[in-house]
């Protein structure tokens, strides 16, 4: 079994500076890659200016860097055009954008289908849309293993359905969504498909065309990039037909006291000064990601995940949430230990240099469906190695001894 090449961990300044740290919380925030941080600093110290409005050289350089970041993101997603690629402040903002702007084209009685497995950020915006417009909100249930119960699709995705908005990968169970089946069902009735890629994009470049979807959202801070920036990809003809969401500078055609017209996408959806240096930093992270050997990384991540699960299963009474099959899950593993609260577990693990997260993970409906309220989560990213897994399993030994 290969260890993570030491050099890979060394490319992440925080991890390089704290060799004793076992960081297993990348599903919450991944560590930033050196190149992404360098790109932010370089931008702020050599090309800082507002974009899209200035003709002096500094502004042109800022503009160029920002638009090149858009090109990089378009390549990362295999988008047809850079006009389909919108910079936002994060996945949550991207999802709210679709719920308002695409949601604004829906009417009472139209159905939006989400799932019980959604992160609150892809759950609450649709509840709010329901309140605003009277759409019907339907939930794909989950199986006992936390996977979307696709047997229920025929009754949910019918001619009233306008949009299917689901997570690509659960941030609790790691369960991958069977996107192809959903897309087929949606296409049959002419519904659009949004994929919440917040947990997907961290695990490699995406091909939105091959996925056959209509919207894709993700966050920079979970993809080894800076915080404060996220992406929304949308199919060109859909974006062109959508009203704006946030409004203000940079997204207008013309403003008069009477009325205002909109710029074309992507500008229409980027009101105000965008997160310029952050977009440039994210692009550096995505560029780096595109240079990697993903099949090899996936194989390593899966082996580490298997190792972890094997170890966890030796703990008496421990309950694993999520699918059994390795290929059905990203390396995100949540578990319950009877009688022990995740906060206490994480606290003791912290004393052993392990960074794990406990709680409801912004997925209360999913936890309720799985018969849990809170759980402890270990999430693996490309910089983790066997030492991290061994430390976790040792650490849980301490937990059991200390808290029992």
């Amino acid at each position: 079994m290969n260890a993570a090449p030491a050099s890979l961990r060394d490319e992440f300044p925080l991890l390089a500076a704290t060799p004793e740290l076992h960081y297993l919380d990348s599903a919450a925030t991944a560590q930033i890659h050196r190149l992404a941080l360098d790109a932010v600093v370089r931008h702020e110290t050599t090309r800082r200016a507002n974009v899209s409005r200035g003709t002096y050289r500094l502004a042109e350089a800022a503009d160029l860097a920002y638009e090149q970041a858009r090109q990089t993101a378009a390549r990362f997603l295999n988008a047809t055009s850079t006009d389909e690629v919108i910079f936002t402040s994060g996945a949550t903002a991207s999802l709210n954008l679709v719920a308002h702007a695409f949601g604004g084209t829906l009417k009472a009685g139209d159905r939006v289908v989400i799932s019980v497995a959604e992160h609150h950020s892809n759950f609450v915006p649709w509840q709010m849309l329901r309140e605003r417009t009277g759409i019907e909100l339907a939930l794909i249930p989950v199986t006992a293993a936390g996977q979307l119960d696709l047997a229920r699709l025929p009754e949910l995705i019918d001619s009233k359905c306008r949009l299917v908005a689901v997570t690509q990968c659960s941030n609790v169970t790691g369960a991958w969504t069977d996107v192809a089946t959903l897309v087929t069902a949606a296409r049959k009735v002419g519904a659009k498909v949004l994929l919440d890629g917040a947990q997907g994009a961290q695990h490699g470049p995406q091909d939105v065309r091959a996925l056959g979807i209509d919207f894709y959202a993700f966050s920079g801070h979970k993809c080894f990039g800076p915080g404060g920036v996220g992406m929304l990809w949308g199919r060109g003809e859909l974006l062109a037909a959508m009203p704006p969401f946030l409004t203000g500078g940079g997204m207008i055609g013309e403003v008069t006291p009477q009325a205002t017209t909109w710029a074309a996408p992507p500008q229409r959806f980027e009101a105000g000064t965008p997160p310029i240096a952050q977009a440039v930093g994210l692009a550096a992270a995505l560029e780096w990601m595109m240079s990697l050997d993903w099949p090899q990384i996936h194989a390593r991540e899966a082996r580490l995940c298997e190792l972890m699960i094997e170890g966890l299963q030796r703990i008496p009474g421990l309950r694993l949430l999520g699918p059994e099959a390795q290929e059905a899950r990203a390396p995100i593993v949540s578990f319950e230990i009877p009688g022990l609260h995740p906060h206490d577990i994480c606290q003791v693990l912290d004393a052993h240099q392990l960074a794990l997260r406990g709680g409801h993970h912004c997925a209360q409906p999913l936890l309720a469906a799985l018969g849990a309220e809170v759980c402890t989560r270990a999430s693996i990213a490309l910089y983790n190695d066997e030492a991290d897994i061994a430390a976790l399993l040792d650490g849980l030994g301490f937990v059991l001894r200390e808290l029992a």
């Binding site: 609260h341 995740p342 906060h343 206490d344 606290q347 003791v348 912290d350 004393a351 052993h352 240099q353 406990g358 709680g359 409801h360 209360q364 936890l367 309220e373 809170v374 200390e402 808290l403």
Partner: protein
């Protein structure tokens, strides 16, 4: 290494385990449910009240050891106290955690939470049952 065994003292585990006051009152004068929305912890606290003093208290607590131990201290100690006393112990406890103030007078068992000073994210775990009790008292005055 930061020492979690100092945090999880025997006393905390025993109080949590004992769960003094766990349950429900037949007739409560005040009741409040408080959540910590970030972690999903939840305390439902009930009080009965007569001539200015707590006559009974009961709680249902979903939470970590610190939260359960704090609720259990309330279960063991609140009866007989008046609202002012509860308010002052809650304030003193918060101050003990956040400003290294001494252990609240008259509640020596709260010293078991002193090691939690070092963990700001856990302060609300300890304080949640006290806040729920204050909310229940406020409720009883309605």
């Amino acid at each position: 290494m930061n020492d979690s065994s100092a945090l999880y003292q025997e006393a905390i585990k025993q109080f949590a385990q004992a769960a003094h006051g766990h349950g429900r009152l037949e007739a409560a004068d005040g009741e409040a449910r408080l959540d910590n929305p970030l972690c999903g912890d939840r305390v439902r606290m009930q009080v009965a009240f007569a001539s200015g003093r707590i006559t009974a208290v009961a709680h249902e607590t979903k939470g970590c050891l610190l939260c359960r131990a704090a609720a259990s201290v309330i279960g063991a100690r609140a009866v007989g106290q008046d609202e002012a006393a509860i308010e002052s112990v809650a304030t003193a406890l918060e101050s003990m955690l956040k400003n290294k103030a001494p252990v609240p007078a008259g509640w020596p068992e709260l010293s078991m939470f002193e090691p939690a000073r070092a963990y700001p994210s856990r302060h609300r775990c300890v304080l949640l049952p006290f806040r729920a009790l204050l909310a229940a008292l406020t409720e009883s005055r309605r």
